[in-house]
Symmetry: C2
Amino acid sequence: MDFSSFLTSLGTSFVIFIVLMLLFTWLSRKPGNSVVYYPNRILKGLDPWEGGTRTRNPFAWIREALSSSEQDVVNMSGVDTAVYFVFLSTVLGILVLSGLILLPVLLPIAATDVKLQTTKSNQTFSELEKLSMANIKDKSPRLWAFLIATYWVSFVTYFLLWKAYVHVSGLRANALMSPKLKPEQFAVLVRDIPPVPVGQTRKEQVDSYFQSIYPETFYRSMVVTNNKKVNKIYEELEGYKKKLAHAEAVYDESKRTGKPEGLRPTTRTGLLGLVGRKVDSIEYFNEKIKELLPKLEAEQKISLRENQQASALVFFTNRVTAASAAQSLHALMVNTWTVMDAPEPRQIIWPNLKIKFFERQIRQYVVYFIVALTIMFYMIPIAFISALTTLDNLKKLLPFIKPIVNIDAVKTVLEAYLPQIALIVFLALLPKLLLVLSKAEGIPSESHAVRATSGKYFYFTVLNVFIGVTLGGTLFSTFKSIEDDPNSIVKLLATSLPGNATFFLTFVALKFFVGYGLELSRVVPLIIFHLKRKYLCKTEAELKEAWSPGDLGYATRIPGDMLIITIVLCYSVIAPLIIPFGVVYFGLGWLVLRNQALKVYVPSFESYGRMWPHIHTRIIASLLLYQVTMFGYFGVKRFSFCTLFLIPLPILSLLFTYVCRKKFYRSFSNTPLEVASFELKEIPNMEHVFRSFIPPSLSSEKADDEQFEDALSQVSRTGSFA
Amino acid sequence: MDFSSFLTSLGTSFVIFIVLMLLFTWLSRKPGNSVVYYPNRILKGLDPWEGGTRTRNPFAWIREALSSSEQDVVNMSGVDTAVYFVFLSTVLGILVLSGLILLPVLLPIAATDVKLQTTKSNQTFSELEKLSMANIKDKSPRLWAFLIATYWVSFVTYFLLWKAYVHVSGLRANALMSPKLKPEQFAVLVRDIPPVPVGQTRKEQVDSYFQSIYPETFYRSMVVTNNKKVNKIYEELEGYKKKLAHAEAVYDESKRTGKPEGLRPTTRTGLLGLVGRKVDSIEYFNEKIKELLPKLEAEQKISLRENQQASALVFFTNRVTAASAAQSLHALMVNTWTVMDAPEPRQIIWPNLKIKFFERQIRQYVVYFIVALTIMFYMIPIAFISALTTLDNLKKLLPFIKPIVNIDAVKTVLEAYLPQIALIVFLALLPKLLLVLSKAEGIPSESHAVRATSGKYFYFTVLNVFIGVTLGGTLFSTFKSIEDDPNSIVKLLATSLPGNATFFLTFVALKFFVGYGLELSRVVPLIIFHLKRKYLCKTEAELKEAWSPGDLGYATRIPGDMLIITIVLCYSVIAPLIIPFGVVYFGLGWLVLRNQALKVYVPSFESYGRMWPHIHTRIIASLLLYQVTMFGYFGVKRFSFCTLFLIPLPILSLLFTYVCRKKFYRSFSNTPLEVASFELKEIPNMEHVFRSFIPPSLSSEKADDEQFEDALSQVSRTGSFA
């Protein structure tokens, strides 16, 4: 890519961004769109436009983002989001501090050297490459400046990461010691409960066990049940309720628009309402609901009595006991009665709770193994699928597409793109696949599954996108030489780096201008919302579902950002010109997402910043990759003796990780007691705490308290109270 | 070593054992020796001879040992000793079960093959070697039997180790849930307390911190002080008290034996009582004591007020809270307010308590590094010292030895043995050195330090004695070939093994006959005791000190046994004849030590079986070494394809370790709450619990309660009570 085409691409991206921003300013002012641009505020019961004024200024959202405080973010979107902003601003800080030194020092040094001009002229070099280390002659003493720059970037990273870890620890502690009642702070999750002794029920077993250990603070327990059947009936019921509301809305509308007596909507009783007998919708759905209600209640009772599993939630009357119980070994056999912090009710993955200790271990390793295979050999199944999905095969499998495919133009295009389509589909499905795999590990909470997915996806992106693109086709052809000398992969990576600098510059620019432009303008959700509103939604509930904004999606967002950090760090010294691009990426990202976090996205769980240690480790992993690459690159420059000065850097990074892990990590995986011992504003309503953990499919329609008393708590109430 | 000299050596050892056993039967019957042969019973206030009859039967002690139950051992010598017997009987079981299959099957198979007869006849082979795998021809199908035997030994080991781990867990749990009051179960050790806030004392800081977390169960705290000065004065004082008692006893005796008015003993005031002014001993010591008493009291107050350190013992009113607190994270910063189980008062290593979190980490790694160097290169300092301690150098340094050394005979002997003497001195001092190093890690309790020492010593013995002797001189000459191919060390070890079988047979036999003979007869302690009684001891206290038996000495005893296991396991299949020797070693050891544990040794600490996981791991390490060696040896036998069948074994061992660690380990490093929640016989006297932790140098002579109230507890008493 030469310099002019680079500038063209940059310019185009910028224009797209400006257009999208103006679109945003225009669209977000329309009241009909407020549910797309301000759903978080609306759901919190706030006025979409703060202060009530709608501005025409296309930069107003920037002012608002800048003037918002961290506390605003915590209030509007939770600690996890605030931690994500700490991440963004930390990386921004690293890049700004690095750039302030590297740009004014290294660019002139590189530009005034002459290596590229003196080498054989059958190659052409862009202006950009002349500003990079590629232009420095081998063994030149100028390399010392680059060596010191390598250290500078590393130390800036250590310093800011340390500060960020301290800050996030404080954020987490503040949230955990908040005087507001959080049900999960009073509960622990108990798994691997041994078989029920003869003559006792599961409930009695759990109650008597915890009663004897915590005679004063034990409140009661809730045995986890297998709710598969109940859930099915419940979902069916909820589906009919929605359909009934829809049918009623249609009927009402027909009264208003058509004949005054209205047109009663009809439906078919068969598959998807498409086949079968035609019936009156309202009557039919009402009938179905009446039929299912007693069935649900009966099934609820069966579930609660007979589908009890070897897992329970145990409730305590104070936070310190719960926090301490979650960290303590309870049983002599470590793989029984394992206790951990209870996740928030909304993010419990119920079916995973029953999985046994060693099964969890085995599942984990099996999943790691599968993921490792996926990361390393993901091309193989894709190639296999593309081979299967040749046009001829497709025609055999799906005969009805024959007429279309036989058109010459379509045929050519399809034949050319089928493998790429397979790849695109695979890449789009990958995060979902990784999430499914992570859940299959037996992880009990959504937030943990998202963290696990994010980690897996990070390694996939860095290995395949960054290293894959850099080494490109050369890797396979030189596979033999790598096999002989595994160190040569570092060297190979190092030699391939400068040539790809321009590609990555463009990549980063595209990501921030187009990516963040789309993010801010929310064009796609807007269109989908309006289509749904027009053609599908009849009731309020359906409308609400149509604009429901979702959460920030950490599982893919963080690995995406991490890829940019890896690229920018690895090139920071080799081609310092990449730093401003990184700064814009994270600066613009901070602004756009601040806007989105305050106004759009609604977090689907709160893990009180437990994402941070994972982010921290991955930034260090990027830094390590950078340091090793630099070591290789200095070797390529035949700066041999002085290259040795780089050896302390990876060691320092590992040491830094070790110290951080020892000093901070445990307070992220457990709740420190000094934090849990802060007093609550009011005496907790334990009944409310307990009830918030009852899954919706089990909670009674009739708010009949006694049902749960009998089914969930089979010991007498006095027995389980202190 | 040929067969006849092997039998001679075996016979001699056996005769020595019989003589020592008869000596024991004769000596232990004399009432004057009862303090040497029955100190544990005497200290427990029991009659030395159970039932009051003294038998002449030389096998009576065996009957007594066999009829004693595990509970007897726990009662007389604690859980640690009982665990040691579990270890002995487990290994015994492994060897017996292996031997039952291996001996009748493998010996005939080996004896009927002909490899050794057919090889070139310039080598001679003993009868023993004909019974080993060395006699099997290469690639012979008979090797299958040996391969299956290798599996049999491994599975027997897994099975019995698993059973033992379950059993020891139960032993530990029983001891921990005992209704008897154990002060350490009510306390936790807090280290890394942050600097004292302005306006608070250390005591207030600790009290308010734990008061707020445990408002109902916190009792009070004891800030650890730097007692260096106090200890010095206290020891001086105790020394003078002993000397005074001694002098008074001498004076009394002189009254009885000599003149009726007696001869007042005198002493000199200078160094060691050898130089200086001559004074009346009784007066002089009395004076010194009077002088030191107020000094001690003053220093005690200073210590308690001014030498407070960033560490404390915190007491709770129930066991569950203490056990749970010891496992919970208290502070947001993980390296502050670190909490762990309090060790028994008698085994706390006070000076280590103040060492900070990261300093402990650094110390640990530094110590590991030093130990690794010591293990690998211990010959270097010894060679260096031997080079320095040539006769000429010694003559220069210690001129007074010249006349002796110049005698020709002495000179020759000394010149020949000086290097060996240096080695022996080093080996004798090594456990002490390792103990000092382990304590330097910052370990807070004696039992932990002993475990750490035992581990280090194990690796030293196995690496240097077993592998060292096996490879012998060949290692250094073939060092080049190892450097080229690290795998060849396994092969080298394998080829060297059969030749050394006879050496190790003799070694094991010597260890059990002579070693256990000396152990049982206690000849050395007996002689020392009688010498001391005759010439040194005048007072009861001095006498008691003279026969004080000490403990079992796990730090060296367990590595010693482990060396035998390693040898026997590694040879079990190659030369199955070693198994009976192993059986006798552990059988005889069990009998002799059962006798010693019940009657002689007094444990100096109780760690409730925390030694077991370490023993377990090391047995597995021996097993791994055995499996790898067998893999190498089958390779040497060119049993190439079938050798691959051995690869699953080391993997199985690692898996077994992993599962055991996950299932059992944590209940050894922490107290499970279900165990701690058992009820005590009586309501604990918390004042007594608290006082038992006051170091002797700080406890007041005058039993003046108020002193400690003021000094140790500077907050008002009401403040620190719930």
